[in-house]
């Protein structure tokens, strides 16, 4: 698992990252479905899974917070249809849930499996999964200041 913790724009620590495997899957899914978005779920069954939708399918509002954008590239070029262009996948979470998650950095990974819900990767026999780590005290101080 490559945990890309690269700083977000402005030098602040990023809240979200993505593994190489998940980035590759996102590039393939984008060729099928167009631009994508994530909304982090909660609750039962497949709760706590990041749900991936065609961008705009899930209506966002004041009840949501924008955790950050995954900056990705449509590669490898050896795959059919890959263009090498850069693209962005925004990651969202409900504001209420964020209150309990804000002290952790999230990495979107992918594992074999069969999630339910309407997330677009399920037919591929894989499931996006969140891996978490605690922010360091230094990171938290900066993140808290910008909230």
């Amino acid at each position: 698992m490559s945990d890309d913790d690269g700083a977000a724009a402005g030098g602040l620590p990023a809240r979200v990252a993505v593994t190489a495997a998940a980035a590759g899957l996102l590039a393939r899914l984008r060729r099928q479905h167009g631009e994508l978005m994530f909304h982090q779920s909660g609750g039962c069954c497949d709760g706590s899974s990041p749900m991936c939708y065609p961008d705009g399918d899930f209506l966002l509002g004041d009840a949501d917070v924008h955790l950050g954008d995954l900056e990705l590239k449509d590669e490898p070029l050896t795959e059919p249809g890959a263009t090498g262009e850069t693209f962005t996948v925004p990651v969202w979470m409900s504001r209420a849930q964020f209150e309990y998650w804000s002290h952790t950095h999230l990495t979107i990974d992918v594992v074999p499996g069969r999630g339910s819900g309407f997330s677009v990767e399920a037919p591929e026999g894989v499931r996006f999964l969140i891996r978490s780590r605690l922010f360091t005290d230094d990171e938290l101080a900066t993140l808290t200041a910008v909230r």
Binding site: G43, C44, C45, T104, V111, G113, S116, G117, P123
Partner: protein, 507 residues
Amino acid sequence: MTVYAAPGQPGAIAEYRARYDHWIGGEYVPPANGQYFENPSPVTGQTFTEVARGTAADIERALDAAEGAATAWGKTTVTERANILNKIADRMEANLEKIAVAESWENGKPVRETLAADIPLAIDHFRYFAGAIRAQEGSISEIDEDTIAYHFHEPLGVVGQIIPWNFPILMATWKLAPALAAGNAVVLKPAEQTPASILFLLDIVGDLLPPGVLNVVNGFGVEAGKPLASSPRIRKIAFTGETTTGRLIMQYASQNIIPVTLELGGKSPNIFFSDVADQRDDYYDKALEGFTMFALNQGEVCTCPSRALIQADIYDQFLGDALERTKAVTQGNPLDTDTMIGAQASNDQLEKILSYIDIGKAEGAKVLTGGQRAELDGDLAGGYYVTPTVFEGKNSMRIFQEEIFGPVVSVTEFADFDDAMKIANDTLYGLGAGVWSRQGATAYRAGRTIEAGRVWTNCYHAYPAAAAFGGYKGSGVGRENHKMMLDHYQQTKNLLVSYSGQKLGFF
């Protein structure tokens, strides 16, 4: 002790078909695009059947069948419908053992639970709604001597239902029994982790319903669930699952202006007051079992008592006894009647639980027992097993706030009644809770203070028909398991009738 032979093995009492099509219009119909997906048993990780991979075209076909059947079904007498539900129950009872083994194999849960709980509860549920619809009456209001308001119950028509994988047959029954009793036709989409149990059941009872009244389309959420939930042809959608999909379903329902019922999970507190430990008697023993209920169904229950709150003065001693009880949980082949905890339902579920064990440790919670994947031998080596896990920590930690949906309980202590209520209600959810006290007044006050739809008091994880079940806060909308669910599947028709021969005098 009995060990049932697995479906596909010599001596098995339950056999799955090698392939399942959609159940539409009272018969099996191949998927429009010809595709199927593999269905593995979590017991071994090996595929045991393949299932039609539905798309919008299959949903449309199921809606055609449902629309074709809805009008006639809605006009049957309540006696006819109740009789059919009772026949379904009788047929299930005659085949209980077979259905229990089949469901255990697909879901991974211990067969002792499907034999004693899942399937008997489903049978009783059909009987309950058969009785409820017979006893339901409309009402009249006498507006004045010559003016009467009559209120009739009418079915909604065609409804959509999306079922979770944790109790594939019981959760389908919770939704089907009231919908069918009320006279609706149904298009049902099972979970993709457990698509076959309901079809195994329909092979036993499917002939009892008129063709088209119940239609089952399998497939993935984005390919089959979404076209169902967003269809302008359904008059209601019911869903059990998680919050993001719940919001998406409400969003689709808002576009079609139809009602929804949602059951979205919880993070249920299980509260043990000091007097629980006043004596070492049967009640104390029952309370320890109540603590250990977090392992029921591998923790894959929306109301899993996944937060245990223990009063400080009995904390060490009660928790010590509870750990002993937890360590005595027997894990193994779900088809062995001695097995108390089986396999998690899918690989991604296993991975998610392990990721939560990681974050729990990272946040400084202490693993008191368990905390890892259970490696079983032989055929079970490829299955998805987790050792029952007890964490000790604080309510602000993520393992106290998120539904892990695994056999993991997070334990903390509280000082007094007010502290217990504060911790219990410090959650986004409000589906279930447990309260344990020998003092009726303490238990009553706690039950009324906790913001949750179901407060088990000196018991846990009982799901009898006639006890309303549903959530406060982020846990959803609606109450299942009770006759009030009929209202969620019915329209109210009001005839406002004047028997007066005199004009009003306005014009």
